[in-house]
Amino acid sequence: MAAHTHENTAPQNGHLETASLDGKNKVLGFWLFLGAETVLFACLFGTYLALRNQTMGGPTGEHLFDLKLVALATAILLTSSLTSVLAMHAMNQLKLKTMQFWLGVTVLLGLGFLVLEIYEFIHYVHEGHTFMSSAFGSSFYALVGTHGAHVTFGIVWISTLMLQAAKRGITTEMAPKLFVSSLYWHFIDVVWVFIFTLVYLLGKVG
């Protein structure tokens, strides 16, 4: 019930997401979860770096990767982090419409990124670079694909929360959920920065 009494007052310290104990737990728990996710991606990166030259005569990264396309995808995803920050800013000022707008933009940018990635993968498969073609292929798709799956999950998640926020408004119950989803989104972004450097840039260098 406490959730509703706070509905129309801006939080004192400017952070609605940690205004309740539940919220504090959620935010801390999510930070820890991101720690686990970091290990998960670290293992995938390690595997990729160990296997990235095992192309078994198939196309190499240097041959495959198109930096222009990847740079565009990177720009889109980085921008979506910014819009996600703007959404959280609006949330803490209890501006529901503004928040929904920026969340919407975030989701659209995420979708744009995903479309580019799918296009890229289809292109690679035509070039003979598949999940089964070599150890390089397996580790590439495992790493980049896991990231893509995370983006997909994030899109569905944020859209779900937008629906809920539309119905319930910005409450102390919604705020931690929204905040945590934006943390997740930033995390995916950071992982992508590493993918961009360690997969694509390094792949181009050879």
Binding site: N25, G35, A36, V39, T47, L51, A135, S138, T160
Partner: protein, 639 residues
Amino acid sequence: MGTLIVLLVLALFLTAIFTGGYNKDFLDRVKTSKVWDWLTTVDHKKIAILYFMSGFFFFIVGGIEALFMRLQLIVPHNDLFVGDTFNELLTMHGTTMIFLAAMPMIFGLMNAIVPLQIGARDVAFPFVNALGFWLFFAGGLLLNLSWIFGGAPDAGWTSYTSLALNEYSPGPGIDYYVLGLQISGIGTLIGGLNFLVTIINLRAPGMTYLRMPLFTWTSFVTSALILFAFPALTVALLLLMFDRLFGANFFDYTMGGSTVIWQHLFWIFGHPEVYIVILPAFGVMSEVISTFSKKRLFGYTSMVFATVLIGFLGFMVWVHHMFTVGLGPVSNSLFAVATMAIAVPTGIKVFNWLFTMWGGEIRFTTAMLFAVGFIPTFVMGGMTGVMLALPPADYQYQDSYFVVAHFHYVLVGGTVFGMFAGAYYWWPKMFGKLLDEKLGKFHFWTFLIGFHLTFFPQHFLGLFGMPRRVFTYQSGVGLETINLISTIGVFGMTIGTLAFIYNIYKTFKVEAQAPADPWNGRTLEWAIPSPPPEYNFAQLPRVRGLDPFWLEKQAGNKGMTPAEPLGSIHMPSPSYLPVLMSLGFFIAGFGFIARGNYAVGILGLIVVVITMFMRSFEQDHGYHIEPEEIEDANKGVQA
């Protein structure tokens, strides 16, 4: 799959019939039944019992597998369980004991005790806690179904590739391993996460970090290890699944893969895992030894420091399992030094336990016996550990029975003794009844003697050259007597365990309720009734120092001083979603294992996604327990 559905419907009918016919109140009856209550509970004390009971069940299953193996090895050239069957037994024994017996028993104790020790009414995420249990259980069940449907995994609990690839392990065995452990691993991960947040955020007023009981501290570090180690297993299993089910090439040399990657990933998880299962046992020992020596734990701060250090170093030593891979002298030396360094904090702990007992008023209860028996046993395991940590020597020991002896000294002598000590110590708090001490002592002595009889000789088996994981040996090379003795010892452990089971049975029949504080305890859990009410503390206690309950008793107070007025208490509502979601994972896992049934797999995943949405949209405000009810309950306890 059809069979499965038929079975489910049949089970539903049978419950309907046995509970009084299928009619309109059937659903009502289900909802008010005990079974439903346990299926949907989010109370950490009930989840503790679920963990404990299923962990003990799997402990028995794993024990029977071990018994079968020792029976096969009782004489040379035996033909009781040979070849694949033996491989299945040894794989399932190790996997079951580590993942399905040790882990849940630890989580059981953590659930039962940690919230009480920090003066909390609940854990941070009761729903996640329940989900963690049901995922573990679904995974464990899935893994064990392999015995019936298609054959058990047979590549060892470490499941090394290439042995674990399709080429050398056809059939679904390893698929059960991969998906069963994946599902139960997710459960463990979120369980650990829950305890981290609980301990950080829900400590009672005055319960600073350096006033936390040692069991809470070790649970805290263990949870952190779970959080950072299990994702490595997740990735390892994921990659193996890709290789086996979807034609990827991570571990296939002919396609550029590398089997060493599996070893790295597995041991980056695997070594922290052995500390995950030993640290809570250290915690139990610290509590038990301090209580039954009637002394404050010696060197509390150094104990905490040693625990954290062990946790930290635990991540830097995994290559000691891979000395013979040939990673080179530099890497072997570095990891050897790091490994030996762990012996230092471990030694600090051992001396602290000894000094705690020194000059104490010692009472040899069963729990204390297990704790005292643990010290020399574990030290021996540590000694052989340091021997194994020398790479040149390890080239001799690797994959021999010497390693088997080492890890059973630490795992049984450490973890299992710790869990037994914890069971005898906290049984009254969990169930409100005291276990029988006489039977307990019988249990201790038979188990201790049986244990040493089984595993001490195995050091020599190893030194004399008997390889591990092989189902037979030659006669006339000096291995017969030692193997015979080793098998005889198993009966000691079996009798001890049977005595424990009988003890549990007997205790449930006894009427007498345990008092709130049967052992003259020191920590917060003994300040509340046994078993505690569902809200644990009617009023949160104010903690004034280390061993808070002891301090109050010393000051002449009967209980803790409350830190808040009596008020209405908020409780989370029960939920059936954890079971449903775990069922979804179970079906998905089963579908992927039964290859060609990907539709079933996807159906399971859809169930998972739907339950996730249901959870997300659910607005659960829980319920409140009012002060009047609490006062009534308090009177009931005192009367």
